[in-house]
């Protein structure tokens, strides 16, 4: 997978990596059991400190998204929603609240906002489906 670091986002670099891997896992771009790039080549390629990549990977491990197999590297976990439902909801609520505040300031009314959420969910499902079909095509 290809990562994009944006120094103007104000978000810590390791968190940018965490978010991009989570997004890739959600969309199926990264599949269960697939390996993540190893630390040295990825650090060289992005020209970031190796400790930053190590921090991102250990954060993802704590979140239950990936697992480390000694000597073999990091892999996306089979079933990676390891956190309790309440915790997962709480984490999501913070993000939703931010989007709601943003919608208020951009004067996007409630109905439009909800329609947009629907649209984005469908877009993600489309991508998942496309990735799955592609995978099946490969297996046949």
């Amino acid at each position: 997978m290809i990562f994009q670091i944006n120094y103007k986002s104000g978000k810590p670099i390791y968190l940018q990596l965490v978010d991009q891997i989570k997004a890739a896992a959600a969309s199926g771009a990264l599949r269960s059991g697939e390996a993540l790039p190893s630390i040295r080549p990825l650090a060289e390629d992005l020209r970031v400190n190796r400790n930053t990549i190590a921090k991102a990977y250990s954060e993802l491990e704590n979140l239950g998204v990936i697992e480390t197999s000694p000597g073999r590297g990091c892999f996306l976990k089979e079933n990676h929603a390891a956190l309790r439902k309440e915790v997962r909801h709480e984490m999501l609520m913070q993000e939703i609240d931010q989007a709601i505040v943003q919608a208020h300031h951009l004067q996007v009314p409630r109905e439009e906002f909800l329609a947009l959420v629907q649209e984005r969910l469908e877009a993600l499902e489309d991508r998942r489906r496309a990735n799955d079909e592609h995978q099946e095509g490969e297996l046949l």
Binding site: V48, N49, T52, A54
Partner: protein
């Protein structure tokens, strides 16, 4: 060896060449395993500071220590634990690259021959070439090989990439990340001085900006990008009267306003929003932009703290 002993500790360092003060009361501390940037303009005192770490100069007041040792009292012990790439690399011009590396390796307890071969290959250097006929970029590459192979706990880089072409710069940084940090990344400390900040952006964990020999800002890189934000707003009417006294810098151009915030970005954003701007955007400053914003001394008339409509 105590785990919490800083790799580098500089306290109240002062050094003057005659009456010209190069470093004035400079203090900083580098934790082991970190990559620390010393940013400053030409003549800000970066090289003088580095030379004090290497015992090439003695502090006139204040102190420096490397892994808890005073370089002027324990020169050999300090030098065995660090490697240095200076801004001006010089070798014996009659020696070949091979002879030069063998000569430099003879001063070292350790020398990773595999890394040496890998890097000679990567840089496309011919070991039989005399160093006197190398380009500036190639001399820097040989210096980097000789700094990486001893696998020291500390790598000191003084303006390592200035005057090099973009490809050589890129390879240089990749080598520092890849080959130097290989083995035990958590224990390999890097102390780099530069004014070419952008290319080191992803590598730097923490930095100090020096100006005229004095530290003006020391921050963790992630925190810095969170703290310094650039807010742009455009209004449909002339810019209303807004209190922006908490901003670091305010620039306006007709109906447009650009505010550099130092830590109070969301508060400033809220203030701007109350006046219903047509457009409003916020982005973090890069380390280079923070460097410029910190050092740019503008006349009072331009650094308005409050902006009023005409």
């Amino acid at each position: 060896m105590n785990v919490s002993t800083p790799a580098i500790e500089i306290q109240g360092l002062t050094y003057a060449y005659g009456s010209a003060e190069a470093v004035r009361d400079l203090s900083l501390s580098v934790k082991p395993g970190r990559c620390y940037g010393l940013f400053g303009r030409n003549g800000a005192g970066k090289t003088t500071t580095m030379k004090c770490l290497l015992n090439l100069l003695r502090p006139q007041s204040g102190s420096v220590s490397v892994f808890g040792l005073d370089p002027s009292k324990h020169e050999v012990a300090v030098k065995s634990r660090l490697a240095y790439v200076p801004d001006q690399v010089a070798f014996y011009p009659w020696m070949t690259i091979r002879e030069t590396l063998d000569y430099l390796a003879s001063f070292r307890e350790r020398w990773n021959g595999t890394t040496e071969r890998e890097l000679l290959d990567r840089f496309g250097l011919n070991p039989q070439q005399r160093t006197g006929s190398l380009s500036k970029g190639q001399r820097t590459q040989v210096a980097l090989i000789s700094a990486v192979c001893p696998e020291t706990d500390l790598l000191v880089l003084d303006e390592p990439t200035s005057g090099l072409d973009p490809i050589v710069r890129r390879e240089f940084i990749e080598t520092v990340i890849g080959a130097y940090q290989e083995g035990s990344p958590g224990n390999r400390t890097i102390f780099v001085s530069t004014h070419l900040i952008t290319e080191f952006e992803g590598l730097i964990d923490e930095f100090t900006i020096v100006d005229r020999g004095h530290a003006v800002l020391t921050l963790d890189s992630d925190q810095a990008r969170e703290r310094y934000q650039k807010i742009r707003a455009r209004f449909s009417q002339p810019i209303p009267d807004i209190d922006l006294s908490s901003a670091l810098r305010v620039k306006r151009n007709g109906r447009e306003l650009e505010v550099i915030a130092d830590g109070a970005a969301s508060e400033i954003e809220q203030r701007l929003r109350q006046h219903r701007p047509e457009a409003l955007s916020t982005e973090a400053l890069t380390l280079e932009e923070i460097f410029v914003a910190t050092l740019k001394h503008e006349p009072d008339s331009q650094s308005l703290s409050a902006v009023s409509a005409h």
